[in-house]
Amino acid sequence: MSERDDRDQLLEGLQEPPQIGQIEPNKDEALTRSARELKLMDHSTYVKEGILKNLFLACALIAVAAVALIFVFTLARALPVFTDIGLAGFFSSVWAPSEGRYGILALLAGSALVTVGALVIGVPLAVGCAVYLTQIATRRVTRIVSTAVDLLAGIPSVIYGFFGLVVLRPLIADASGGLGFGALTAWLVLAIMIVPTITTLSMDALNSVDPGVREAAFSMGATRWQTIYKVVLPAAKVGIVNAIVLGMGRAIGETMAVLMIVGNAPVFPASVTSPVATLTSQIALDMGYSSGLHRAALFGMGVVLYIISAGLVGIVRIITGKSERREREASRPATPVAEEGTRSVAEGPSRTGSSAAKAQEGSAQLIKSRLANARKPRVSKRATDAAMTGVFSAAGLVTTAILVLIIGFVVVNGAPQITPAFIFTWPQGVNAEGGIFPTIVSTLYVTALATLFATPIAVLAAVYLAEYAHQGRLVDFIRYATDTLASVPSIVMGLFGYAVFVEACGFGLSMLSAALALALLMLPLIMRTTEDAIRAVPRYIRWGAYGLGATKWQVVSRVVLPAAFPRIATGIVLAIGRAIGETAIVLYTMGQAVNLPLTPLDSGRSMPVHLYLLANDGINMGAAYGTALLLMIMILAFNLFARHISKRGARQKGGK
């Protein structure tokens, strides 16, 4: 910390590099002497370091610019709806584009209903799972289940939607007698989808609870459940609440899965098994054919979604900021509790042994009698402990079972479809018989392009945040922008991509448009992991390099980045996994026609979009299963590869 500041101050001080001749010999003896004896910083080094620093800052500001541009462009495209029908019309209850009525209240209600239900189911499951993994399970089980959780997080939403549509929907239809579309189906699917987010973040929070506190509770005769409930959970409260808020953001912004299972009736929900619509599902459903005011209304809904998600990120920051402030205050008391002076000063040489012992005896007796007043609990401690441990273990088990179920479902149905012909030939006929080759190429093409755009900017931006920036308001702001960018629902990113890259830039429905929009999705993911990775590089490694006379950039490029590489690579690979499975963004930026892209301006149909369209048609389901399986294999492979990189990195570090 201080080290970095020193370097910065050195750079600051040399902003205008002094020239030797300028220093007046008799002005300050000490200064003159040092100027003679120490070589001044080379002008070119100074300029180079300065340029690099500003380049990195520019990269960091791209995230800020993106967040601002997304808002501005979406709002600009939405303006007609605000001027033509007004806020009152926009926030009214009837959504009927064919009648020129664009009230979004029913859609908002649908979004709220779907989100709240998903949280009610998902939060206990996720927090329970996190508690089980951090507090109860053996290390082996933790390793297996947390892998399962990570893989669940990697499965693209279109596969969850497909699973909900084909497996859950008929079950709920049979149980309820209705069609099976509606909030209940969405609850189950969204709950599964937010579990990984909440579990992973809650685990971080629980793991950061001081293990000493946990031991202390055990050593006082607390059962495991009492320790968890009374000590560990309260200590991790802030982190868990943040996890839940972010999970909520994910639920509100989820598009494809919801679109496939809510039934898309834009009315106030009559029951949990009757069709409803959400903001996201309606945008995705209407975007393809809407025009004029209707399209403006969709962008208006995008603005609403944007504000909700940015607001949730703001809430998280406020909660975290408050608790950090409180912790700082607690550890540095403004009015320290006065210590009693040592006995020799305050009370003379020694309390007489017998009187002290008598006092101890008296106190002990009193405590004993008060403890005797304790009431026996109605349920024995041990029973409660066993029951609660069981509940938490069940949460872990359920999560793993869900993963197995979903993967099993896709594998069993998809495996018979996968032949060399399926992978390497074109779809034929109206029902997409044959293979899916062009969609595989399109997916890889667009993902590679997006990675190419996002990675350098994200890594350099992270370098700026972690190595160069003064920890102050600017960095806070950049971080807030990055978090907001990460939380922008992908359908809003898709709207933005359509408005800017497809239309304003004139790239049309193309690989380039989709890749630029996807890069915005990847940017915050890579930035975050890279910054964490850089920060995790021990300070003394840097000191060593500075001590040998390396410049800042030399330290960063030759010492810090190589040391942080495994974790950075992990972040990049995980971001690639996200991009491969992303549907809502590419749906309206890349086009939907099957095409083998050659130039970046070619359009195409990605695998997730192909799966979505096949599932929607509901005719050639075999091809849908096959596509889902291939897609899942690709993403799981990327996820496992990322785990492998990070594990190898950890091993190397451990070996040194």
């Binding site: 069609l179 579309f181 069709p275 619509a277 429905l509 301006l601 048609d617 509901g618 050639n620």
Partner: protein, 298 residues
Amino acid sequence: MRTSRRHRLHVLTALALVAVVALPLSGCGSGSDGSSKTITVAGSTTVLPIAEIAAEKYEAKTGNQVLVSGLGSSAGIEAVINGTADIASSSRDLTDEEASHELVSTVIAHDGIAVIVNDSNPVKNVTLDQLRDIYAGRITNWKELGGPDLPIELVNRDEASGTREAFRSIVMRGEDFDRSAAVLPGTGQVRDVVSRSAGAIGYISIGFVKSDYATTTVRTLRVDGVEATRDNVSSGKYPISRDLYFFTNGDPQGVAYDYIRFVLSDEMSQTIEDAGYIPVNWDQSGSGDGTSSGGEGK
């Protein structure tokens, strides 16, 4: 004081750099080219599969490229009017406003929309008026149609669907759909949902009533006493039927003309049937009961 100014300077420099990076993005030119051998077909998602396959086959035959996109009938017609597309595919006729432009229409296929219910549903016939009342949300129980005491579960299509548009104009006649109906974005889904829910009702193209892909079955309702068969659609007896069109700005020329002729040729008939529609050269006598299955798997 000094530091803060310094800081602002950094930010300004950085913003300038952002601008430099952003410049090539904003200056990007339009992506279309004027190659004489390439035409663009835009419009109806209903017609999309036919247009796409015709494009593939036509390309393979002639080497001329046909780019097909499905943005909806309205968008396609707009694209032809403003010149960004050569052919608009549409599942509806022109509106008065659209007809004021010099558009030439070609019927490429007929489509009949079958009203489907669950196999277990004893109701056999509805009138167009009853159908309208059902979809407007006025008739909500099958017992009002002489069936069992069972709530009607409405299944509708999404607004981008040409089938919905045709159903709306033929059946609803200006009335609005009950907005609490489930909106499904695909024919197969409508069929599957109706086949599994006792009280459900939906509508799909006749060609998809029987499907080689599906494991479940649905039943069609007679509309005004007329069975939903291809013959009845072709002969014009079945009331819920429509035509699929290509529109061009003026008479089709060159590659566009060639492509449209190819779509109308016998070579495409089977594809059009596979897609669930009835080719314009449909032979009434040669096709038995006329409900031959759509979507033949290869």
